[in-house]
């Protein structure tokens, strides 16, 4: 079997605050293989976003090792190995949708023709063809988030890190985007790490679900999903789906027992 794309061993991160140290991550070990769709789920403060930020070199671990594509997160960031999608779309209001997607390409020094070709391609990928000249505020929240995914895809990183990308959207839009994200994943064969606090979303999307719990932030369960890769929305009513959802809920509850 090939080397995992992301590999963490005994990873810990402690923030020093005025109220004493906070153990955001403690002894995390996890391997993510190429082409997997991994969800991180847990209550707030469990370190799922922090873990994602460590992968992206936005936080430095205080102990343990982590590699991304076989190198350090910093080297991976320099090599532009991943695209990162934040909770909010974070599009610049003074740039068109096309201009926003072009932004990382300009920074990375792609030439003009290449930029135009890539913008066109990723817009089609997220079903926003024809919106290139629009400004972000002329689009709905769901469309803005799709544009921000297109922006993360534009420079062909084969890892996609997503931090609750649909958290601010309503249930109906979210269902639609989940379905589209799965199609996109099938088409591009990217490795996706996805942070969420919705059980159905995690179960529906993932090939692997990582359940985390807080104080200290740690992994309590890793579930390999038996669901097929091809998933229509109504798969969520099948017994298999409900069984995994049940196991995730149990894992979350076990994590909570520590506090109360």
């Amino acid at each position: 079997m090939a080397e995992p794309v992301i590999k963490a061993e005994n990873l810990s991160l402690t923030f020093e605050t005025n109220d004493g140290p906070v153990h955001a991550l403690k002894d995390i070990s996890l391997a993510i293989n190429k082409g997997e769709f991994v969800s991180f789920i847990g209550p707030s403060g469990c370190g799922k976003t922090t873990f994602l930020r460590v992968m992206a070199d936005l936080e430095k671990p205080t102990a343990g090792t982590i590699t991304v594509n076989g190198v350090s997160p910093e080297a991976a960031r320099m090599a532009r190995a991943y695209g990162y999608v934040f909770q909010a779309a974070g599009l610049y209001p003074w740039r068109t949708i096309g201009g926003n997607i072009r932004l990382p390409l300009e920074i990375m020094g792609y030439d003009k023709a290449d930029q135009a070709e890539r913008v066109k391609r990723v817009l089609e990928l997220v079903d926003l063809a024809g919106f290139e000249k629009k400004f972000p505020w002329q689009l709905s929240g769901g469309m803005q988030q799709r544009a921000s995914i297109a922006r993360a895809l534009a420079f062909d990183a084969d890892i996609l890190l997503m931090d609750e990308p649909f958290g601010a959207l309503d249930e109906i839009v979210r269902d639609h985007l989940n379905e589209q994200l799965l199609k996109l994943w099938a088409k591009t064969n990217k490795t996706i790490a996805f942070v969420t606090h919705s059980i159905p979303e995690a179960v529906y999307l993932s090939t692997k679900i990582v359940v985390m719990s807080p104080r200290p932030g740690r992994i309590t369960d890793v579930i390999d999903s038996p669901l097929p890769r091809e998933r229509p929305l109504d798969i969520r009513d099948t017994p298999e789906f409900l069984e995994i959802a049940h196991r995730v809920r149990d894992g979350l509850r076990a994590g909570h027992a520590y506090d109360d």
Partner: protein, 295 residues
């Protein structure tokens, strides 16, 4: 035209109230002189005669708006018609002198202010050593040094435009530094992280994120700065008045009790300030609208 009813009418009412107060004040303040004149001439004044007199004295304590308007017209429009727009007695001439000092100082002050703000945002030592002084200096009556600067610069051979512009520059510099520092820091943590995930350089982050995000802050400071520049230029004209300028007109007027001249210079300065702030406001509106940042 809902706007007309909901905004213009209240504003006009307040402006009308100011004019009524102004005319009433003219009657009150000028009546003593009117009565004195009447006493000496041995006549008694009826109320309408009193009002007519108080609104048409040559050196009134408070000239009526129409007297000031007539004086302004005499020293601007009428002189243009006679082809003497830039004669020494014309307010256009004096206004131009003040305006050029204001603009030179404003442009320099804004430029230096933006540069210093960029330095402060990128260098922690600079931030921590300079910023407290910039903030403290806003509590100091800088304008009070203005005459000294002008006199000293004159004695070492700089006269005319330069000393006044230095005061204007100084006054517009601080609001721009404070506003731009805030503006360049206005991108939130998520936007900065995003730049980091793309491995953008400091320069790329400055050009593509920090500067565009700072525009609303910049324009707010520019409005304050240009008004301050004008005040600086006017005060800078006080100590040396042979060069002309609106401030010099005011001072000469106060030497010879030419109240109408003071008021006309004052109102011209006010109009100039309004136009300058208005232009900045228009540019602000257009820019922010194009950038999708207008509220």
């Amino acid at each position: 035209m809902i706007w007309l009813r909901s905004s213009l009418l209240p504003i006009l009412t307040v402006v009308a109230a100011i004019f009524v107060l102004w005319y009433a004040g003219a009657v009150g303040l000028n009546s003593k002189w009117a009565y004195d004149k009447a006493n000496r001439a041995g006549v008694t004044l009826s109320f309408s005669e009193l009002v007519a007199d108080t609104w048409s004295q040559e050196k009134p304590k408070l000239p009526g708006p129409h007297q000031v308007a007539a004086e302004i017209w005499k020293t601007t429009g009428a002189m243009v018609l006679r082809g003497k727009a830039f004669s020494k007695r014309s307010l256009i001439f004096h206004g131009w002198i003040t305006l050029s000092a204001t603009m030179l100082g404003f442009v320099l002050g804004t430029g230096f202010g933006i540069l210093l703000a960029i330095g402060i945002v990128h260098n922690r030592a600079m931030d921590m050593s300079v910023m407290p002084w910039v903030i403290a200096s806003q509590t100091i009556p800088i304008l009070a040094i203005a005459p000294m600067v002008v006199v000293v610069m004159n004695s070492i051979g700089f006269s005319g435009l330069v000393p006044k512009s230095i005061i204007s520059m100084y006054l517009s510099f601080f609001p721009v530094v404070v506003g731009m520092t805030k503006g360049l820091r206005s991108p939130d943590a998520m936007q900065m992280d995003q730049m980091r995930t793309w491995n953008a350089s400091k320069w790329q982050t400055l050009i593509r994120l920090r500067l565009p995000s700072s525009m609303p802050y910049l324009f707010t400071s520019l409005k304050v700065g240009i008004a301050a520049s004008l005040v600086g230029a006017i005060v800078g004209e006080l100590p040396i008045n042979q060069d002309g300028g609106l401030g010099a007109r005011m001072l000469v007027g106060s030497y010879y009790s030419q109240t109408i001249q003071i008021w006309s210079a004052l109102l011209t300065a006010a109009a100039l300030a309004a136009v300058l702030v208005g232009i900045v406001g228009l540019v602000q509106g257009a820019t922010l609208k194009r950038m999708g940042m207008a509220r």
